[in-house]
């Protein structure tokens, strides 16, 4: 139990940690074990073959952390001989178990029902919950510091803990409100267009400075208004930071919020002196940061420019000026089927438009048919092909595409020159050569597939009018070897599959 007599010894200069010393060694070891299991859980994801074991190790780590906490914190002290819990103790235990059961049920039902296309918004929603939980834990620690063992000798909250608490609440609140906006944008409940407030950089930097100032102030004065204002400002800045960011940059935002949720957990781990929380926070924080970096690199955007926001807005204006009347060739499903059957190797480049049209299953059927006829079929995935990192891989896996037929950009890009057909479905910007040649293009510098090196390019597109997410014209449409297949992606592939039979 961490409740007890006030500390007898004067506190250490940097932190008051009597309660940790009071915890038996097995508790500390259990939290360490759970931290190690979390590391193994991520390690398992290095290959699909080991990933499921990794996930189970993660569950075990979480189980250990929760049970250990319940055993040490629950009203029934494990060390006591013949514990005689009072009715109030039992009520508290019941409340906790009911809370876990309620949350667990909601979680499992949601996880079962969610469509794989809706994964980005689900992850954003989950991030918001971690953020809010961090805020609540921070506030609970503020209201009941004794329970968290963060009281200094003079009965006030230890100053170091106040900084950790303030940062934890601030990061948690930013994660919460930012994730809510990201969720609304990804779920289409709010326009994906960036919302630009005048002078937003000044407002944002000012609010951030105010939050840091209040955290510093909090070490001197633990008044309620300080922490309340800090919380309110942090909720506000989370909201302000995400509304100017356009839909195309959401993969970065989701990764970034992933990172924040980790740092929030780490800050709370500092407050609680809990190794499982600190290790987890560091893992999740690094994970989100690395994914943000990968996404930024895949779009050739700097992290700062993504955070500054406003991407989709400017691109729209450019698109209007570049309408051209260059000649292009249209093909039919029968033509496409004939060429596909004659080919030796086909590389399919799917984009998010394929998932929107729900064409992944029929696309896999087409792949199966071709493989039966001896055609080599591979899938080429751009890092930003989906709406979050790795999203397209999940969508293809759901359609039963074997993962060893799916390749990443840098692994397959050189193979287009040997491929007979590059089959582009629902993608546009990721195959646009302007990214390599046109310095004025908004996507200049973005790594793209060299589909032009293939002998034939088939491009499924709804119409010639629309342009990609970045709003730029694509030279691939007008190449000699390109056959435009205009129509709904799903219907077009269905027709190709039908024609393949003959």
């Amino acid at each position: 139990m961490i409740l007890g007599a006030p500390p007898l010894n004067p506190p250490a200069p940097l932190a008051v940690v009597e309660h940790v010393a009071a915890l038996p060694a097995w508790v500390l070891l259990a939290y360490l074990a759970s931290g190690v299991l979390f590391i193994l859980a991520l390690r398992g994801l290095s290959s699909p073959a080991t990933s499921q074991r990794g996930n189970r190790q993660g569950m075990a780590g979480m189980g250990i952390a929760v049970v250990t906490t319940l055993l040490t914190q629950a009203p029934i002290p494990p060390g006591a001989l013949l514990p005689e819990p009072t009715s109030q103790d039992l009520r508290v235990l019941f409340q906790i178990l009911a809370a876990i059961a309620l949350g667990g049920t909601i979680g499992i039902v949601t996880a079962r029902r969610i469509a794989m296309t809706a994964m980005p918004q689900l992850v954003a929603a989950f991030h918001s919950l971690v953020g809010l939980a961090a805020v609540l834990v921070g506030w609970a620690a503020y209201l009941n510091p004794e329970a968290f063992g963060i009281l200094a000798a003079d009965g006030t909250i230890d100053p170091v803990s106040r900084v950790e608490m303030g940062l934890g609440i601030a990061i948690g609140a930013i994660t919460f409100s930012g994730s809510v906006i990201a969720f609304l944008k990804l779920a289409g409940k709010m326009s994906g267009a960036p919302i630009m407030l005048p002078g937003r950089h000044v407002i944002n930097l000012g609010t951030l400075a105010a939050i840091l100032g209040l955290t510093a102030w909090f070490t001197q004065d633990e008044a309620l208004w300080v922490i309340a204002t800090l919380t309110a400002l942090a909720f506000l800045i989370g909201f302000l930071l995400i509304i100017p960011i356009g839909g195309a940059d959401m993969p970065v935002v989701v990764s970034m919020l992933n990172s924040y949720s980790g740092w929030a957990a780490a800050a709370m781990g500092f407050t609680l002196h809990n190794t499982a929380m600190i290790i987890t926070g560091a893992l999740v924080g690094s994970s989100g940061a690395i994914l943000s970096y990968i996404m930024c690199r895949a779009m050739n955007r700097s992290f700062i420019s993504v955070i500054a926001g406003g991407f989709g807005a400017e691109a729209g204006a450019i698109a209007d000026g570049t309408k051209t009347d260059r000649p292009w060739k249209r093909g039919s499903a029968e033509d496409a089927a004939f060429l596909l059957e004659q080919a030796e190797s086909v590389i399919i480049v799917p984009g998010y438009g394929m998932a929107v049209a729900q064409a992944q299953h029929v696309l896999r059927e087409m792949g199966d048919q071709l493989k039966k006829q001896g055609v080599s079929v591979k899938y080429a995935i751009h890092p930003v092909a989906g709406r979050m990192p790795g999203h397209m891989n999940v969508l293809l896996a759901e359609a039963n595409v074997p993962y060893d037929e799916v390749f990443e950009l840098e692994d397959i890009n050189s193979e287009f020159s040997q491929a007979d057909i590059a089959f582009i479905i629902g993608a546009n910007d990721v195959v646009n050569p302007a990214a390599k040649t046109d310095k004025s293009s908004p996507i200049y510098g973005m790594p793209v597939f060299d589909v032009g090196n293939a002998k034939t390019v088939m491009f499924i597109k709804r119409s010639m009018g629309g342009v990609g997410y970045a709003g730029v014209d694509n030279d691939v449409f007008y190449m000699d070897q390109t056959m435009m297949l205009l129509g709904d992606a799903k219907k077009m592939v269905e027709e190709i599959v039908k024609s393949l039979g003959h």
Partner: protein, 93 residues
């Protein structure tokens, strides 16, 4: 454990995280996000402390709400990760 020991664990864990995450195959980045989401809900430890402690009615209820939110994430996060990972299959040969 003093502040420096905790900070040491944190800094070393950041390095572990850095190398472990780079070794994750890009094909599994979505499950990575889902599972990191689930494990970051280890913050439930703090919520449990608050919910179990006596002395502050408000803190207890904040803790209980925190337990609900974190549980949604833990069960939902691990379940959705398991669901995704089960879909990744190798080519039949």
């Amino acid at each position: 454990m003093d502040f420096i020991s905790i900070l040491s664990i944190f800094v070393l864990a950041c390095f572990v995280g850095y190398y472990v995450v780079w070794s994750v195959t890009p094909a599994l980045h979505t499950p990575l996000m889902a599972v990191t989401n689930a494990i970051s809900s280890v913050i439930i430890v703090g919520a449990l402390v608050a919910a179990a402690a006596k002395g502050s009615f408000e803190a207890t209820w904040l803790g209980l709400i925190g337990v609900v939110l974190a549980s949604v994430n833990i069960f939902g996060g691990f379940a959705v990760t398991a669901r995704m990972l089960a879909m990744y299959k190798k080519k039949e040969r």
